[in-house]
């Protein structure tokens, strides 16, 4: 009897040891449940123009190249690439053995067709196993091809098929999406068996779902990040990767108007905006692109200078009132806009809030589309409707000059760079993000842990 008892004890100890090792070691299986505020109506990568959609797209569709954490390009579906002199025409050689999720092989023709659909202004050719892309502007790197919208998709019969780590299993536009692991993924099968996403959930609903164990990943707005951390939630944040700025609807019509815009920029207390309204969820912006992306600190002082602002407005007789529009569905945008109204009032400027689409200026939030600073600047300019910056040369000086030119147009006043944060359940392991907030889902695995 005693011998049998010892045997039982030894077996039990072995099982417990194995279980403990399994809980702390990456392993396959499980469904990751994600809740997002956004409610996408399409999964087409060509329409992936928000960070959430970008992350979704990256799960299903691969790009020819990828960006590493430093923003440098690395192979994706393309094993190698070369550029013609001038940097406008690029030749990509496809990785061999890659197949779409439906089993069909990735071909240069399919890749070229996908790129043409997403970029009608490009000239894209296929030749054997290579794809030639002629961009609409010269570039010193093919980073633009790492943008989510350039994910390679096969569009047949209204269905989308990619080469990514996950394939679409169930899709209800604007409501939910179920992805299953691509067992034949060329970069290795992800740990997760599936990902279940629910859309259109506000922050309160998401936190409840997380607390009840009905979700493992939720979005946390920048202003709620500190509070979430104070509640001992597991929070993962990106580097500041979203620009909050004031965008004027037109170029200054006179020198006085330009001076008033300058005064408005000087009157805004960005530090207070970040510390109080955003609860430290970002950084005061002294440039369009954040410092971590460009390497230079700021193009103008982000501090408040009421004295100089008042001096400017005092020199101008009867400044015309402006209307400031903001996104009525964004609670933090309203508070920030209200504070800007107060700051402007301190200098003698009159701003009236509106949610109308027509206004003199509007408060905007522009996610930075790429870790590549040039691509990010071009994308920001495009989203704000500003003239495309001309970045001559490959050094940081060229970027600095282009960004300075953009700011000198006085169409945009950067306010803050915001971080993207996610709340994670305790069962989520291996979660990581790129500095701009891209998910590294293939590395994620689910283990034990109470919600």
């Amino acid at each position: 009897m005693r011998r049998i008892g010892y045997l039982r004890l030894a077996v039990s100890s072995l099982v417990l040891t194995l279980c403990a090792q399994a809980a702390t070691r990456p392993h396959y299986g499980g469904a990751l449940r994600v809740q997002l505020r956004e409610a996408p109506s399409s999964l087409d990568p060509a329409q992936a123009d928000t960070p959430a959609l970008g992350n979704l797209s990256r799960l299903i569709f691969d790009t020819l190249v990828r960006l590493d954490d430093r923003g440098a390009t690395e192979p994706g579906l393309a094993a190698s690439w070369t550029a013609d002199p001038g940097g406008q025409r690029w030749h990509f050689t496809l990785r061999s053995g890659v197949a779409f999720q439906d089993g069909s092989a990735l071909t240069a023709d399919a890749a070229a067709a996908s790129l043409r659909a997403a970029n009608p202004q490009w000239k894209v050719f296929s030749d054997g196993n290579s794809v030639t892309v002629e961009l609409d502007a010269p570039a010193d790197s093919p980073a633009v091809l790492a943008l989510p919208r350039n994910g390679i998709a096969k569009r047949s019969g209204g269905k989308l098929v990619g080469t990514g780590a996950f394939a679409i299993s169930d899709w209800q536009a604007g409501k939910q999406l179920t992805l299953v692991a691509n067992n034949d993924y060329w970069d290795g099968r992800p740990f997760l068996d599936s990902i279940e996403m629910e859309f259109g959930k506000n922050y309160r609903e998401q936190t409840i779902a997380l607390d009840l164990g009905k979700a493992e990943v939720i979005e946390i707005p920048p202003e709620e990040t500190r509070h979430a951390m104070a509640e001992n939630r597991q929070v993962e944040s990106s580097a500041p990767s979203e620009l909050m700025a004031l965008e004027f609807s037109r170029t200054p019509q006179s020198d006085d108007e330009g001076h008033l815009r300058q005064a408005l920029g000087l009157s805004i207390d960005r530090t207070l905006l970040n510390n109080v309204m955003l609860q430290g969820g970002g950084e005061p912006a002294g440039s369009v692109l954040p410092e971590w992306m460009t390497g230079y600190a700021f193009l103008f002082s982000p501090g408040v200078n009421l004295q100089e602002a008042r001096k400017i407005t005092a020199a101008i007789r009867q400044p015309a009132p402006w209307t400031l529009a903001y996104d009525g569905s964004d609670a933090i945008a309203r508070v920030v806009a209200e504070r800007i109204v107060l700051n402007a009032r301190d200098t003698g400027l009159t701003l009236t809030l509106t949610t109308s689409s027509t206004s003199d200026l509007r408060l905007v939030r522009v996610p930075l589309a790429s870790m590549d600073s040039r691509e990010a600047l071009v994308d920001v300019a495009a989203k704000l409707g500003l003239p495309q910056p001309k970045i001559a040369g490959g050094g940081p000086e060229a970027l600095y000059t282009a960004e300075s030119m953009l700011l000198q147009s006085q169409r945009v006043i950067p306010l803050l760079h915001l971080r993207v944060s996610y709340g994670l359940g305790k069962s989520v392991h291996g979660w990581s993000m790129s500095p701009e907030g891209d998910w590294r889902i293939p590395d994620v695995w689910l283990g034990g842990g109470q919600p």
Binding site: R226, L272, N275, V276, M277, Q279, G280, V335, V336, A337, E338, R339, V341, L342, T352, L353
Partner: protein, 602 residues
């Protein structure tokens, strides 16, 4: 207008004026009563609203007191005492507490008036609230709240928490606030937020949000803005009086006495107006019925009053027409009865006088007839007597002379006897004047026949020539008359004219149409007649001539009278005489005479 109608009109007018006066008095009294009732109702409503407003203020004050005593407020006060404020920690604090207490405005401010947390403008932390009272008032008060989209009025209260931290908050005086006020039916509350100089329609709100036709209230609001005291006015919203509204304006001032808003309590006039219209309709109906009854009664009364008068008038008309035997019944002993009795006595007296007059005239006529007969008969009798006496004397003196005288004397006797017979015959004819036999007669043809009859005599060498002129109207309509009688009458007049012109002259025969009557004028240029002669001219047996029976013009008048016509004379001594004969058309008598003739023949 008859006496009855006049009396009826006077009665009706009297009743109408009386009813109208009563209706006006009743209407005025009703109007005054309604006005007083409306005034009392409005005062009651205003008092009720004040009470409701005060109650809401007490509610707000109670909620603020609850917040001031809450753990969250105490913790905030303690934290602020320990360190400088972390605005980020309280960014949504006021908002969350305001939501839980159902307050629109809530601010936590320190002793210097710096906003720690604001529900209505969360971004306003760190700024000073300039309109903060120096010390917390006991009761709720009106306050102008600064909001990102402008200003708003709030019914607020303020309390001190501890350690120099204050909480001030309240409810917005907006359409929702007005909508929650419990007001009686037919009333409504509006608020004008006096946040700008002058009048702005956007600042006037009611429970539905915007007030329709807000400019109608602008004068009342301007009056309160100028005088800063309660005012009342009736506002006309449309052409219908039922849409009128009595609006009581109450100035709402803040802690500093500044006019922040104007509370407008509207009381609809619809119920009063409809009731007044109902009463007016009923009064109008009753008045109309009264007037109708009054007219009927007046008609009956006027008939009763005027019937004797009308009988008297009718009797007087009959008397005037010659029916002197008219009798008016005497039905009462009043003045009208006495009048009727006097009338009857008058007609009786008149009849007696007429009989006496006829008697005397008859006697006079007989006397005249006797005198005329004596005169007429005396003329031929005298030669008869002389002739017979001469014959007797000749018979006594000399038979031969008798024989010689006898034939001549016999001839004279026969002639005078014939003369006597002629006289008697003429008198006989007058007594046997025939009735006219009507037939269609054209006077323009009859008169030339008369002229032709006397044409030879007009130009007889035995007398001075008479010029005869025919002036006949071409449009003279034919009439119904007896041509022979008219011919005799016209001839008689022509003879008279010839007698009046022994020294020659002009005889004019004229016709003309006067409406439905034909007029014949026979004029001479003779010696003319005196007025006295004109008066007696048609009296039988009267004559102004030396010889004549005096029956000629009487016969003429009789003929014209039998035709329904009239004859008159115009004359002036020395200027001639004109007889004017007016004859009616009498065409209806043609059918009667033809009918009579046909019936006679059948």
């Amino acid at each position: 207008m008859t006496y009855r109608r006049k009396l009826l009109a006077v009665f009706a007018l009297t009743v109408f004026v009386s009813v109208g006066a009563v209706a006006w008095i009743v209407s005025a009294m009703a109007r005054n009563a309604f006005a007083r009732a409306n005034e009392e109702r409005t005062d009651a409503l205003v008092a009720q609203f004040r009470s409701e407003f005060r109650r809401r203020g007490e509610e707000v004050a109670q909620r603020i007191q609850t917040i001031a005593g809450s753990d969250a407020a105490t913790r905030m006060a303690l934290a602020l005492n320990r360190s400088s404020p972390d605005y980020g920690a309280y960014l949504n604090e006021a908002k969350n507490i305001a939501d839980s207490q159902q307050l629109d405005f809530l601010e936590f401010v320190d002793g210097q008036g710096t906003i720690i947390s604001s529900a209505q403008w969360p971004a306003k932390f760190g700024y000073k609230d300039a309109s903060l009272p120096a010390s917390p008032p006991k009761d709720a008060f009106l306050r102008e709240e600064d909001l990102p989209e402008g200003s708003a009025l709030g019914l607020c209260a303020m309390r001190e928490i501890s350690g120099g931290l204050y909480v001030i908050g309240g409810q917005r005086l907006d359409k929702n606030f007005l909508g929650t006020l419990e007001l009686p039916p037919g009333t409504r509350a509006m608020v004008y937020q006096n946040l700008l100089n002058g009048f702005s329609s956007q600042l006037l709100i009611d429970p539905s949000g915007t007030v329709q036709n807000p400019e109608r209230l602008a004068p009342l609001i301007a009056q309160v803005q100028q005088q800063a005291k309660e005012t009342e006015a009736v506002v006309r919203w449309s052409g219908s009086a039922a849409d009128d509204e009595t609006v009581h304006a109450i100035p709402l001032t803040g802690q500093d006495g500044r006019l922040l808003g104007i509370l407008l309590v509207g009381s609809s006039q619809r119920a009063f107006v409809e009731l007044r219209q109902h009463i007016g309709s009923a009064a109008l109906l009753a008045g109309a019925a009264g007037v109708l009854l009054a007219i009927l009664f007046s008609g009956w009364a006027a008939g009763r009053v005027t019937q004797p008068v009308e009988q008297l008038a009718q009797a007087a008309r009959e008397v005037a027409e010659g029916n002197w035997h008219t009798y008016v019944p005497v039905n009462s002993a009043d003045e009208l009865g006495q009048l009727a009795d006097a009338f009857n006595r008058m007609t009786t007296e008149l009849l007696g006088q007429r009989d006496r007059l006829v008697q005397s005239e008859r006697v006079a006529a007989w006397r005249e007839l006797a005198r005329r007969l004596a005169h007429e008969l005396k003329n031929p009798l005298f030669p008869l007597q002389l002739t017979v006496e001469n014959l007797v004397r000749a018979r006594e003196q000399s038979p031969q002379l008798f024989e010689e005288m006898f034939p001549e004397a016999a001839a004279t006797l026969l002639a005078e006897i014939a003369n006597l017979k002629a006289i008697i015959s003429r008198f006989g004819e007058f007594s046997k004047m025939p009735q006219p036999r009507f037939e269609r007669v054209q006077l323009n043809e009859l008169l030339p026949n008369v002229e032709r009859l006397f044409h030879a005599q007009f130009h007889s060498p035995e007398r001075a020539a008479i010029e005869c002129r025919l002036e006949l109207a071409p449009n003279l309509a034919p009439i119904a008359a007896d041509p022979e009688l008219l011919h005799r009458a016209f001839s008689n007049l022509v003879l008279n004219a010839m007698d009046a012109m022994p020294q020659s002259g002009t005889l004019s025969l004229r016709t003309r149409q006067d409406g439905g009557r034909a007029v014949v004028e026979i004029s001479d240029t003779g010696t003319g007649l005196t007025p006295e002669e004109c008066e007696r001219l048609f009296t039988p047996y009267y004559t102004s001539k030396a010889h004549g029976t005096g029956l000629g013009l009487a016969i003429v008048q009789s003929v014209i009278s039998d035709h329904g016509g009239t004859i008159s004379v115009r004359s002036k001594a020395g200027s001639g005489t004109t007889f004017v004969i007016e004859l009616p058309g009498n065409l209806e008598k043609l059918s009667q005479s033809s009918g009579a003739a046909s019936s006679a023949t059948s």
